[in-house]
């Protein structure tokens, strides 16, 4: 807890303020009158005026922004502008757990796959396995997630019929069923992340494995597995942690796409549905929530450096 952290928090506050303003201003980017886009053409002028009044469009811009921000902070993100005019926050609260679960599962799967792959690759750097993993991961990185998702659905859901598509079981109902339904979507999310993590971790592992302390551990008679897991992994994970922050953006992106592909009731489906119907209050609310989560997660990732590297831990205190 030092001035560094304070400065960070201050910066974050500024960033969130700007993001919220940008989100709020989305409406003004609408090519035509929001009232018209809500009600459609050909209504009475009084009806349009009433909607404008309700949206507060007649006030001055700063007033409107502060109003909007005030209620947003208080937990009121407004109502959707298309039927059935439900509460935006309620919809988000229902959808968010699905997305978070998918993202976490995807990330966990990616780590589960990539750590052994990277170790295998780095342990036998330059060998056949390394080359295959290298080429494979580079290739996978060039496959957009929606394409990978379509292929995986076709093979595993449609052709082989091993996994379902388009249904969702909440964790509260049945954990097993929930995981069964979440497996394929999470796999799609994990694919690109796995390729990315494998490459980064492999690169760092190779650098670490050339360090003297690895040789010293070897000279103490420690086994190759002990050296890889206990000596090499942690010092090699710093780039990956940085990357976790970078790939979080991609992760959210692929979660959106996967929800759309598998028709799962998460934030992605919510946002895409809203975008297609021009439901801008919904989009505003969702963007705001996602941005806040995204920025805070990145802060956490930043702080996790200290846990992994004792040298930084001391500098932070």
């Amino acid at each position: 807890m030092g001035p560094i952290l304070l400065k960070k928090v201050g910066e974050l506050a500024a960033v969130l303020l700007i993001v919220s303003f940008g989100t709020f201003m989305l409406v003004s980017l609408l090519p035509n009158d929001p009232a018209v886009s809500i009600l459609g053409q050909g209504r009475e002028p009084a009806e349009y005026a009433a909607v404008r009044e309700e949206l507060g469009l007649n006030d001055a811009l700063p007033v409107r922004y502060l109003d909007w921000l005030g209620s947003a902070v208080a937990g009121d993100l407004g109502r959707t502008v298309v039927p059935p005019y439900t509460d935006v926050l309620d919809r988000i609260a229902a959808a968010l757990p699905v997305s978070v679960e998918l993202a976490v599962l995807g990330m966990a799967m990616a780590l589960l796959f990539s750590i052994p792959l990277a170790m295998w690759s780095a342990h036998r750097a330059g060998g056949r396995v390394d080359r295959v993993i290298s080429a494979g991961s580079f290739g996978v990185l060039s496959v957009p997630s929606f394409l990978a998702g379509l292929l995986i659905i076709m093979v595993f859901a449609n052709q082989l019929g091993w996994f379902p598509r388009g249904q969702w079981v909440r964790i509260s109902e049945s954990l097993g069923d929930n995981l069964y339904h979440a497996f394929l979507p999470a796999l799609v999310i994990a694919l690109a992340e796995t390729a990315l993590f494998t490459r980064i971790l492999r690169n760092d592992l190779i650098t670490t494995l050339q360090e003297d302390f690895i040789l010293a551990a070897k000279a103490k008679g420690m086994s190759a597995r002990h050296i890889l897991f206990s000596d090499a992994l942690r010092p090699s994970s710093f780039s990956m942690i940085t990357l976790l922050g970078i790939s979080l953006g991609r992760l959210i992106g692929s979660t959106v796409i996967v929800e759309y592909l598998f028709a799962l009731p998460g934030m992605g489906s919510l946002v895409i549905g809203a975008a297609n119907t021009g439901d801008f209050t919904m989009v505003q609310g969702a963007v705001l929530v996602i941005a806040v989560i995204y920025v805070l997660t990145n802060l956490l990732i930043d702080l996790s450096y200290g846990v992994l590297d004792p040298r930084i831990r001391r500098a932070h205190v």
């Binding site: 040789l215 070897k218 000279a219 103490k220 008679g221 190759a224 000596d231 010092p235 004792p310």
Partner: protein
Amino acid sequence: MNSTSALLPDRPAAEQESPVLIVDDLRTQIHTPRGDVQAVDGISFTLGRGKTLGIVGESGSGKSVLGRTIMGLYSTGPTMTVSGRVLIAGKDVHTLGASGLRELWGSDVGMVFQDPMTALNPVKKVGVHLTESLRRHRTMNRAQAKAHAAELLNLVGIPEPRRRLDQYPHELSGGMRQRVVIAMSLANEPALLIADEPTTALDVTVQKQILDLLDRLQDELGMAIVLISHNLGVVAGRADRVAVMYAGRVVETADAAALFGLPHHPYTEALLEAIPRLDQPPHVRLAAIDGAPPNMVAPPIGCRFAPRCRYAQSDCTLAPPSLDGAVTRGIATPGHSFACYHPVNAGGQ
């Protein structure tokens, strides 16, 4: 040091007689994209219990590769080829499998590295560095290993060992870290310690402390030491025997006193002349060795030092002189041999 007895079990008498380390015609060839490098080229020696062999040479002379090959850290694989034999405490290092090597390392032989900054894992506590090897090689539980680790730190002269166990390497000074590295290599009382430039990365004042520590530990634990250094001064007072390496080969080897007193190989002579001496009058120019070590991908055919040697004659570039050759020709003794056709400070010419 009262803990010595606990750390030094009585070894059988027979083992004390036979050499701890036998190196026989060791060769290490490193494959690089630019070609194969003969980093260690036919080196043989033996080292008895409690003795110290100093290996001296410029950087790039192959002395570190030699140390790591003796250890078995370097062995035949895609990037290098090793031939010859290394026996440590009677075990043929290069015929041991992976698990045999792990048994050997840390129990029969330990290694001290050049830079204590890099030889300790920055994310592991000092205690873990010591205990993981203890628990690996001996059946010790966590508490026993920790107690023993504290004893080890005490042995290498680190005050407050209990507190140090819970510190990270970056919280210690350079000299302290090197003491930890030494403690780490001594954890299971190896018969042989390979110290690769153990003082190069340290301040001059700390260098002496570390060398004194190694001396003392050798007296107390009776291990043999291979002391590798580019610095003749480091080796001078500490080694019983010295081998001078040049371009992968030993060019001269003798008891320390004989070698420093009357060097026969022109390279040894040049090395000695390049050391500043207090007994010289001021403003005497130090003799640097002209030129650079040879390109090891395509080394000179004859004596590898010939291109830089002020005594070189035409026969020097024809065939490489050998240590044995000088002995058979009667110009050297097995106790003090050198690979040179035209030795200095000698009657034979």
